[in-house]
Amino acid sequence: MTIISFEDVKFSYQSGQSLQFPDVNIQKGNTTLVLGQSGVGKTTCLHLMAGLMKPKSGNIVIIGSSIVQMTQSELDAFRGKNVGVIFQQNHFISALNVLENIEMSQYLSGGKKDTIFCKELLKRLDIADKWNKKTTALSQGERQRVAIARSLAAKPPIILADEPTSALDDANTTEVFKLLNDQAEYLGSTLVIVTHDNRLKDLVPHHINLNKS
């Protein structure tokens, strides 16, 4: 079953520069890498998949719904429900503690608050004892785990990750990938990683290459 598809998607930046994306068909449950050198529009691709941007032309279908026709607030709600995003830089709501940040994702997606599930996620990510810490008091690695937990909290069918391993050494790269992949599998979510990190190539069978057009 196709969970994300791009059909003849064109995007143009405000500067006038435009990008042509290859047609994409990501199947449910297939962890997929979106690869490409810097500047080929990897982050733009991720933002398009998340509905944070709209293409100039073409169609994007996520879980059977075309998102190019949606209004801004429909998109916000759709994304909250269906897509979990992990960014390159991990930002949190600084006034809230770890657990509250994760619960916030459930609240904003329109779902029920499920503290037990959130705590279970923290446990699976091995940071259960940090639940009441401020996110500013965490190490970089811990912050990334909290970001992963947050992206999973609303049990979205799709998880998008932007360069999750680019700043890590080889050992940690494998570990973080495994963490992400295991949790996505556990929830039955489809994981899409946007990266230029070639180390991940060997770990993930499905690749999409973005090239300069």
Partner: protein, 438 residues
């Protein structure tokens, strides 16, 4: 977590910013509210003491002093006037005067003024007897509620007065003991702090002084006592006067005696003669006439320059505190732009972001207003203590005025208004642009 709870968490997360915003806001609100409380009560005091008195007649001097002395009892008399000189104004058949109440000042008991007058005085302030009765004989006094409270004088108690307006044992009139025969119910006006007796009592007390000093015969005293009920130790007097006790007609039989002033009420305030009367008196007689409303307005105008200055400062602080809320929210919005973008990514709508920031402004204003209002009431109460011991003016911090609700409304409006621009720009911010740079 809904926007309201997140707003609370956000403002608590930066305690120093919170403190600064709230201190500024509370100062503005506190100062304005204090002025509201103070001015309201001051105006109340002045107005309740005006007691519909249209004109005060007394010795020549400062008109303001005449008013302050004879209506507010906070200044010294301008001097005394001879009843003979004031004859026409005391005449009950005067064509434009409805009532004329004579006042004789000069003595005090524990700093409470003793006023020689007639029953018309209690009618001016609509004072009712709460215990005992009004004075009937010389040296009998009826006291105001505050006098009773603070001196613990009760009905049947006697005391000796002291000459002048400050308590001084060396100036005690120790021959004449006043006797308390009644206590008035509280009115909120100046009469609460006065000791009232009949005019002749004051004459009698001072006559004794003179007699002792000059060793003259008892002749004079008989003169002054003529026509009065009077249980003096000397031979009983035959009442020769048929006038009612304490009436102005009775006073008129003693043209050589003095009083301090006359409180006048016109029959018609707007009649041509009434409007002309102060000028007529001041130009053609040895008396001075002063209109309380006019003099007090003049005084309030003069004092008003001071309160206007404070008001301007209060508004300035109000403006600065609005600006501080604006700046602190705007900065917080920029510092938190990734957070706000994240909220959008996680499914939060633009309206959630907008509400979040507006609520933060609202909450800052609400807390600031609450702190400021408490501050103003507490400081009013503290100041009331000083005013009471210095002027016997009973101010209080424990009142709630309609204007304070308006101040709440204005405060919240300012809070929301200063949050509006940060809230709009946060709600409109482009999520992917922010995240791209992250």
């Amino acid at each position: 977590m809904n926007a309201f709870r997140l707003a609370i968490r956000n403002i608590l997360d930066k305690p120093l910013n919170l403190l600064l915003s709230i201190i500024l806001f509370a100062l503005g609100v506190g100062l304005i509210n204090f002025l509201i409380l103070f001015n309201h009560q001051l105006k109340d005091k002045f107005e309740s003491n005006l007691a519909d008195i249209d004109l005060v007649l007394g010795a020549k001097g400062s008109p303001l002093q005449l008013i302050l002395c004879n209506m507010y009892h906070i200044d010294n008399p301008t001097g005394n006037i001879k009843i003979g000189d004031a004859k026409p104004f005391l005449n009950p058949k005067h064509p434009i005067i409805a009532s004329a109440v004579p006042l004789s000042l000069g003595d005090n008991y524990k700093n409470f003024r003793i006023v020689g007058t007639n029953y018309g005085f209690t009618e001016l302030y609509k004072a009712k007897i709460s215990q005992g009765k009004l004075w009937e004989a010389p040296l009998e006094v009826t006291i105001g509620q505050q006098v009773a409270d603070e001196t613990n004088l009760k009905i049947g108690d006697t005391f000796t007065s002291s000459h002048g307006f400050t308590d001084d044992v060396d100036l005690a009139h120790d021959h004449n003991a006043f006797k308390v025969v009644g206590i008035l119910a509280p009115t909120g006006a100046v009469i609460d702090q006065l000791i009232m007796t009949q005019t002749s009592t004051i004459w009698q007390v001072h006559k004794h002084e003179e007699e002792e000093a000059t060793e003259t015969s008892a002749e004079e005293e008989h003169d002054h006592a003529e026509g009065e009920e009077h249980d003096h130790q000397e031979e009983p007097q035959v009442q020769t006067s048929t006038f009612p006790l304490g009436s102005n007609e009775e006073l008129l039989t003693h043209p050589e005696e003095s009083i301090t002033s006359i409180l006048v009420k016109y029959k018609s305030r707007t009649s041509f003669q009434a409007l002309n009367m102060p000028r007529m008196v001041n130009e053609n007689t040895s008396l001075q006439a002063a209109a309380p409303a006019y003099e007090i307005n003049k005084l309030v105008d003069m004092v008003g320059v001071g309160t206007d200055g404070i008001k301007a400062i209060a508004y300035l602080i109000g403006f600065v505190s609005a600006l501080s809320i604006f700046i602190s929210l705007y900065r917080a919005m920029r510092d938190r732009k990734y957070e706000l973008a994240l909220i959008r990514v996680m499914g939060g709508k633009r309206s959630y972001i907008f509400n979040l920031i507006v609520l933060e402004g609202f909450l800052l204003a609400l807390i600031g207003w609450t702190v400021g209002t408490i501050l103003s009431h507490v400081s009013m109460e503290i100041m009331a203590g000083y005013l009471k011991s210095d002027f016997r003016y009973s101010f209080t911090g424990w009142i709630w005025l309609m204007e304070e609700w308006f101040l709440l409304g204005i405060s919240l409006f300012i809070g929301v208004l200063s949050a509006l621009i940060p809230a709009l720009s946060a709600a409109k911010q482009d999520v992917n642009e922010v995240l791209d740079k992250g």
